[in-house]
């Protein structure tokens, strides 16, 4: 099973990279973009087929190391 973890800065925490990309898009005349957030994606190959167990494990990984929950949120997507 594969787990895709998306980590991004929490809403309300200023995302300087997102702001810079937004600015660049506007300079390139993509005027219809109202906000940009830049995050990172971590793809994990898991040795399990148990979805409940997988979600439990990956949540623990996110809390302990993959995200810094002081400033970041995470989303987990499991793919069979």
């Amino acid at each position: 099973m594969k787990a895709i973890v998306n980590v991004s800065l929490k809403a309300g925490v200023l995302d300087s990279q997102g702001k810079a990309v937004h600015h660049a898009l506007n300079s390139l005349h993509f005027k219809n973009v109202s906000d940009v957030r830049v995050g990172k994606q971590i793809v994990l190959q898991l040795d399990t087929t148990d979805e409940v167990k997988a979600r439990e494990d990956v949540t623990k990984m996110c809390e302990e190391i993959l995200a810094n929950t002081v400033i970041e949120d995470y989303e987990i997507e499991l793919i069979k």
Binding site: L14, S16, A20, I65, L66, N68, V70, I71
Partner: protein
Amino acid sequence: MKVSILQFPGTNCEYDTQHAFESLGATTEIVWHKTESIPEDTNLLVVAGGFSYGDYLRSGAIAKFSPVMKAVIEYANNGGKVLGICNGFQVLTEAGLLPGALKRNEHLHFISKHHTLKVINNDNVFLEKLDKETVLNIPIAHHDGNYYIDQDGLEDLYANNQILLTYSDKNGNVLNPNGSVDSIAGVCNKEKNVFGLMPHPERAMDLLLGSDDGIKMLEGFLSA
């Protein structure tokens, strides 16, 4: 006075730090991150600057799982004095020994220059030898020095006098180089035995290199 200095793969300020403390008469020991204990006679434990584990994932994120960190946390919880400089500050926030987190600098640049700092609180073992409002000229060199803490956390910092240093101009007025909340450059924990700061006092030990204001800070760290 014995100063033990942690060394992770990618740490690069450990020898500057050693040189600075030895020039003030301290004995020092470099402690490799795979060591599982802190030298018993340690009076001050320093997490030195650099790029531990190449800053992979987040600055300081991987160092917090090094074998030595269990001993560091135990040492701090028993009241031992711990100082984190630059990457060391990032490691200590990641390890949960200090509140808040260090984000990418607001304007995304790596900043390397001399900057003035203001002493905000001195009712702690680290800065008790310096008067409040003292302005110090100390170099900064970081990419992820933008201190963040939420509103509740910030109020706690103020209530407990945990903000020790802010970035300022040479007259002590706010001058914020990296977007840090309330221009914060250094904080301590509630118990006031763990102190983290982004600037590098160990690089301000000689007028020939632009400033010797680091001597005043490091002498304070040694005397308490």
